[in-house]
């Protein structure tokens, strides 16, 4: 199997409801954090940012940009800086994997990530008494002191691979591997698929004229694509999500 899993997010369809964020946290056993957690100290492998076109009055427009790990394919910045080899690019899937057991918590990768898509686990995972019964058995809980990020719901990929193996198949059925955020999106704004497969709908969407990637000039070849018919949204692609507040306001 040699795939290149990625997403195409249609920003014109995103209403900023946040269902992807909650579904991601529930799927990946992200604990509820103390009230002092913020957008930078919290754990949001998928974080929806609100941006605007900078116009005041009736011409003002807003859009929502869900940002997760971009699963960079070329010179992956977090991989090259990790002293512990705790970040790996899976050659079979293209998924950038974070291995918490190896992670030292140095946070070099967070500094290196141009998308601010990595989060440090500041607190021991804890749930109100009894709530641990609702943890997803497919995903291990992580200790504090490690970096976390989106792994494209790797546990779901394992389940799909087990299912394929049980059926004597080498390739998974893509219907069996759908990340939680994709499944949760009420407007089907997120398409997921194998970008290396030209027949895959996500791959075709990634080649549409409205598709773009964030900070493409860096040459890291992100596997998360975005789509918008609005020129001002596409123009945001080269700006950092935490950049100038009047240009792309992170909320």
């Amino acid at each position: 199997m040699s795939a290149r899993y990625g997403m195409v997010i249609d920003l014109d369809r995103c209403t900023g409801c946040g269902a992807c964020m909650v579904a991601c946290a529930a799927e990946n056993n992200v604990p509820p954090l103390p009230p002092r957690a913020t957008d930078r100290t919290g754990l949001t492998p998928m974080l929806v940012h609100k941006v605007n076109n900078g116009v005041e009055g009736a011409g003002r427009r807003e859009a929502f940009i869900p940002i997760a790990c971009m699963h960079c394919a070329n010179e992956t910045p977090c991989v090259s800086v990790c002293p512990q080899q705790a970040v790996e690019v899976d050659k079979a899937t293209g998924i950038v994997m974070q291995i918490p057991q190896r992670c030292l918590g140095c946070r070099y990768c967070m500094t290196a990530c141009p998308y601010h898509a990595r989060y440090f686990n500041w607190w021991d995972p804890s749930w109100p008494p009894g709530m641990e019964k609702t943890l997803n058995p497919g995903v291990a809980t992580r200790m504090r002191g490690v970096v976390e990020k989106c792994n494209l719901c790797h546990a779901r990929l394992h389940t799909a691979m087990e299912k394929a193996a049980a059926a004597g198949k080498k390739e998974i059925d893509m219907a069996d591997y759908v990340p939680a955020c994709v499944e949760a999106c009420p407007t089907n704004a997120i398409q997921f698929g194998d970008l290396a497969n030209s027949e895959d709908a996500a791959s075709q969407a990634a080649h549409s004229p409205d598709a773009f990637r964030l900070l493409a000039r860096l040459g890291t070849e992100p596997k998360i694509y975005y789509k918008s018919r609005q020129a001002w949204v596409r123009a945001l692609a080269e700006r950092s999500p935490n950049g100038h507040p009047t240009e792309a306001q992170h909320v």
């Binding site: 409801c17 529930a26 009894g130 641990e132």
Partner: protein, 556 residues
């Protein structure tokens, strides 16, 4: 052989250097890494076979169907069910983490009287004493359920008062109910056939109505299209989520929507843009321009825009007679793409409201939003699964939590087509909990049982032989062998959907333009956060991002 000090040092150095060429240090490092990830106080997921069951969300009256992954007997994950005819697989953000709510620290586990734990017998004795001393009121937040019939029959038998708390979507349909005499829960919006929707601050893309119903329509027919099939015009003071996704956003001054509706109606009548009948509004265009902050030309242009592509449907964020009258003028009442009476709806109950009786006590069902303020000077018995904080109840009575109660789900508000479903109970309710219906049935066992009522309703639908049953694949009701099989399918998570009504008689008579077109306070859409407490992971939305404002309720 004599071992010199030099040999010892050389041997130690060689051993130290050599050990790095063995797997030992790496194995030790690896084990240490693993150990430090698995401290005994770190919760580990329960192991067990994973199964998927169909269920229905009961956080609000929409009753969205969902697929619940269960492991070791507990829900561990939730996703939408794409085959649901109305939600199309969508759930609201709260739904994805609601399965954790039963273990929320605010969960009620015992009856409380003014904060002190007491027994159910004491609560029952107090309620019996109350209704023997004077009339009691029962408040329902989700009318039309089988449990609602128990509440209603109790007050009918004991000369009490039955009150239904309406949500903002239902309130927006109140004027049509008053003008036509059709019960408000028998009316709905035919969004699917509208080509222009004019929203007066209604958060259509932010949880309004049935999650997924409008957002799905918008995504398919409007999102990002310069000339969309479905034109959404959002008239709202602020740039909300809905305004951001609208074809056009018309910013107006706070509370001036009714005046704008009157001005639009005046233009439509004067310039003969519509053929519908409606009394002329008294508003002047100049006044409307001053109050709304728009220019007279912009209002005129808007009037032309709303009739350019019809059917046009106006939706208000709450009860608004002026906006309802505008719909009447646009011919959107009783026609496709407008406000329609539901198809045959055997379980619609006219929502009663306070009738002025002086009440001795009030019993509040767990479906009533926590914000509901009971009448003063009454003894309050409030059923709730979670303590929403504050001191608004004399008696707090623990009710079954999420996925713990089997209940039927009549047609959700805003749907123009009747539906019926049964939310199964996936978790055994705690022995300390009771529903309001169970409580009343213990007091008066002659009332009809909830399960019997559900069975009777299934038989009634089956006998009518109308509509389809939506499971993985839709099947007509006529394909079921018996009412028992039909009920079995519903209890397994299927949804019955009636046929849309082909003829929609809805006669509204309006003699004069509704008064009070002045400024109006906006509806309180904080109510979208229905449960008294939120799933802990909802904090991602207001604490770890600013997608939503921090709810004012207790988060414990």
């Amino acid at each position: 052989m004599k071992v010199s000090r030099r040999d010892l040092l050389l041997g130690t150095a060689g051993l130290t250097a050599g050990i790095f060429f063995t797997p030992v240090p790496w194995k030790v490092l690896d084990d240490v890494s693993v150990w430090t990830q698995n401290w005994p106080w770190i919760p580990q997921p329960a192991r067990g076979p994973v199964t998927t069951k169909l269920a229905a969300c009961t956080l609000c009256a929409s009753g969205c169907r969902m697929r619940v992954r269960m492991a070791a007997g507990f829900p561990v994950g939730v996703s939408g069910s794409a085959t649901h005819p109305l939600t199309k697989g969508a759930l609201c953000p709260l739904g994805f983490a609601a399965h954790q709510l039963n273990w929320h620290p605010a969960r009620l586990h015992a009856v409380r009287h003014h904060g002190h734990a007491v027994s159910w017998d004491e609560a029952r004795a107090a309620f019996e004493k109350a209704y023997s001393e004077g009339p009691v009121g029962i408040v329902d937040g989700h009318s039309g359920r089988a449990a609602s019939t128990v509440l209603q029959s109790f007050v009918a038998k004991h000369n009490g008062n039955y009150e239904v708390v309406l949500n903002p979507e239902e309130k927006s349909l109140l004027p049509y109910a008053q003008w036509s005499g059709v019960p408000v829960n028998s009316l709905g919006y035919d969004l699917e056939n509208a080509r222009t929707i004019v929203s007066f601050s209604a958060p259509l893309l932010d949880g309004w109505g049935i999650p997924g119903r409008f957002t799905h329509l918008w995504a398919e027919r409007a999102a990002g299209q310069p000339d969309p099939q479905l034109r959404l015009i959002q008239i709202e003071p602020k740039l909300s989520r809905t305004a951001s996704g609208a074809w056009r956003w018309i910013p107006i001054c706070q509370g001036s929507g009714e005046l704008l509706a009157a001005a639009l109606a005046k233009i439509l009548i004067e310039e003969r843009l519509v053929s519908g009948q409606s009394p002329a509004p008294p508003a002047s265009l100049t006044d409307a321009a001053t109050q709304t902050g728009l220019t007279a030309a912009a209002i005129r242009e808007l009037a032309y825009a709303i009739v350019e592509r019809r059917p046009t449907l106006c939706i208000s964020d709450g009860e608004s007679p002026a906006i309802a009258a505008l719909n009447l003028l646009l011919g959107a009442v009783g026609t496709p793409g407008g406000i329609l009476p539901k198809s045959v709806h055997p379980f619609a109950m006219p929502p009663a409201s306070a009738n002025g009786k002086s009440l001795r006590a009030v019993l509040i069902d767990s479906s009533v939003p926590w914000e509901y303020v009971p009448p003063a000077s009454t003894e309050v018995f409030r059923f709730a699964a979670w303590d929403g904080g504050g001191n608004r109840s004399d008696w707090l009575l623990p009710s079954p939590g999420y996925l713990e109660e089997s209940t039927d789900l009549p047609t959700p508000p805003t749907s123009a087509v009747a539906t019926y479903a049964i939310a199964p109970s996936l978790l055994a309710p705690s022995a300390e909990t009771k529903t309001a219906a169970q409580f009343l049935l213990q007091i008066d066992p002659t009332l009809s049982d909830v399960d019997q009522t559900i069975r009777a309703r299934c038989q009634e639908i089956f006998r009518a032989r109308r509509g389809t049953v939506h499971t993985e694949k839709p099947a007509p009701v006529t394909s079921f062998e018996s009412a028992a099989k039909f009920e079995e399918a519903l209890r397994a998570g299927a949804v019955w959907l009636d046929e849309p009504r082909t003829v929609s008689p809805l006669r509204c008579s309006l003699k004069e333009w509704p008064g009070n077109c002045g400024r109006r306070a906006p509806a309180d859409w904080v109510d979208l956060w229905e449960p008294p407490v939120l799933p802990p992971l909802a904090a991602k939305l207001y604490q770890e991002s600013s997608l939503r404002e921090t709810p004012q309720r207790s988060q414990s």
